[in-house]
Subunit: 288 residues, 2 copies
């Protein structure tokens, strides 16, 4: 079959690999004090947002990432009422959080107001919960917040940050993880995106070991995210009391009904650790 | 972090998406009557082979594909002695097949001798079993073979073909699947690569329904393959007698020890069907 020709492409280069998407039109370009925000329409992934040229989310595949960051922790927690999201300016994570009826308050700390403003206007299909009265969006530094807040602690904390390259590095620092734990209630769960084990194996393994110093259960889990390097992504579930393989089945069935990726089988299967990933973790363990 | 600059890239364009790999050097280029065969060294995926410009396999990620095509069927079959592989010219699939001690004979039917010749010379780390006396490699048309062979039938058949685009389309035709079943022993299992549900949802769903006309159990399963479009791939297990969720645990533990991706948890988890994929299958069912 002859490949259709497209004249314009948007490309992201990541350490010797490059993913390009055929472009229909640029929709928005803005520059905040933190980063460049771009939103555009593509042929195969619908509308896409990038930050500093890195693919963050697309209409076509966003559900993979947002459901997998959110539901394993939310459905393992006993009755999550207070939820903290750090990052997540496109609104996809808080949308999934707020589908859980037990939630009374969801605080989202996003450093860059421009991401939210741009996504509200140009990616309304992702952030469908901005008007939910339980949502409290604050434009602030999430690191400062978890270090210094005197607010009531949280049942679930979700870290929806950017890659640990350049400015995002602090989001994978021990100091930050420790401060997050400070804001977690006893019996709570924390989940974070933890990068691609295929292309960022060292960061992935290092992160596992940092978290193991803080939590008695640290369980990485895996799933596809088409627009992220290698296409295989990981998240990590952390808790001192909860077993991620024992989600609350009744609530799970209800939530899964409204999901496009997640269900009970996906939940359990995602926690299976590929042999090469286990080897990465074990090797890193020998070094320390 | 500043992205290192690379001057040469090898790119594959797939329907409005394009994956490019930073190139160290071309190693081999050849043209057979069927296709162009290229082998080259890349920065992030080691040595890579393409056919007509389409990424087929790489040293870095080949294990994902070959283990997942091979072991679910091989470990569900009761005691696979005779195995048929159609395609698979890089040798990765027969390598995994021949790790099973019960195998007495593995027939591999590859249409293009040049692929095998080139891979034997330039990708020896993938095809490590070419000298196994149980292996019978034949350069012939797999479609003719399954239609016309009068040989003894097989316990397991693995279809390791190219995409159903252009010349590969016949490898996803009902007529071909029916002929494959003709060559399968009662109690046997067939597995095939069945494309990316994310970007080839229609072909994926259509294939499921074709196979359901032939087999009482048709179970798609999923895993990452970094170099294939979208990064999420599918395979499909077919049998009239066997339950893919009941692999032989003792043999499985032995085989998994030598795997880089596959293990018991991965096996079961891979058969969890994402909601959007189930919806694709159901929608296609309504049309017929």
């Amino acid at each position: 079959m002859e490949e259709k020709k497209y004249n314009a492409w948007y490309e992201e280069t990541f350490q010797g690999t490059r993913l390009s998407l055929a472009l229909e039109q640029m929709v928005y370009t803005g520059q905040s004090e933190f980063q460049k925000v771009e939103i555009f329409d593509t042929v195969r992934y619908g509308r896409v947002m990038t930050l500093d040229g890195v693919f963050m989310t697309s209409e076509k595949d966003e559900f993979l990432y947002h459901e997998m960051l959110t539901h394993p922790a939310m459905l393992t927690a006993i009755e999550p009422k207070r939820v903290l999201v750090i990052g997540g300016g496109d609104g996809g994570t808080v949308r999934e959080v707020l589908r859980h009826p037990s939630v009374e308050k969801c605080v989202m700390i996003e450093i860059d107001e421009l991401v939210v403003t741009a996504c509200k206007e140009h990616l309304p299909s992702i952030g469908t919960a901005w008007e939910d009265p339980r949502l409290d969006v604050r434009f602030a530094d999430g690191i400062d917040y978890v270090k210094n807040s005197e607010e009531e602690k949280y049942d679930v904390i979700l870290l929806d940050g950017t890659d640990p390259i350049g400015p995002g590095e602090v989001l994978f620092a021990m100091e930050f993880f420790r401060a997050c734990k400070r804001m977690l209630k006893p019996g709570g769960a924390l989940a974070l995106q933890s990068e691609t084990p295929m292309l960022m194996g060292e960061v992935f393994a290092e992160t596992q070991h940092k978290l193991r110093e803080l939590f008695s259960t640290v369980a990485p889990y895996f799933g596809p995210v088409a627009l992220y390097p290698s296409g295989q992504w990981s998240w990590t579930f952390c808790s001192d009391e909860l077993d991620p393989l024992a989600p609350r089945a009744e609530r799970q069935a209800e939530i899964a009904q409204g999901c496009r990726y997640y269900n009970a089988g996906i939940h359990n299967g995602a926690f299976a650790i590929p042999n090469y990933v286990q080897a990465l973790i074990d090797e890193r363990g020998k070094k320390s």
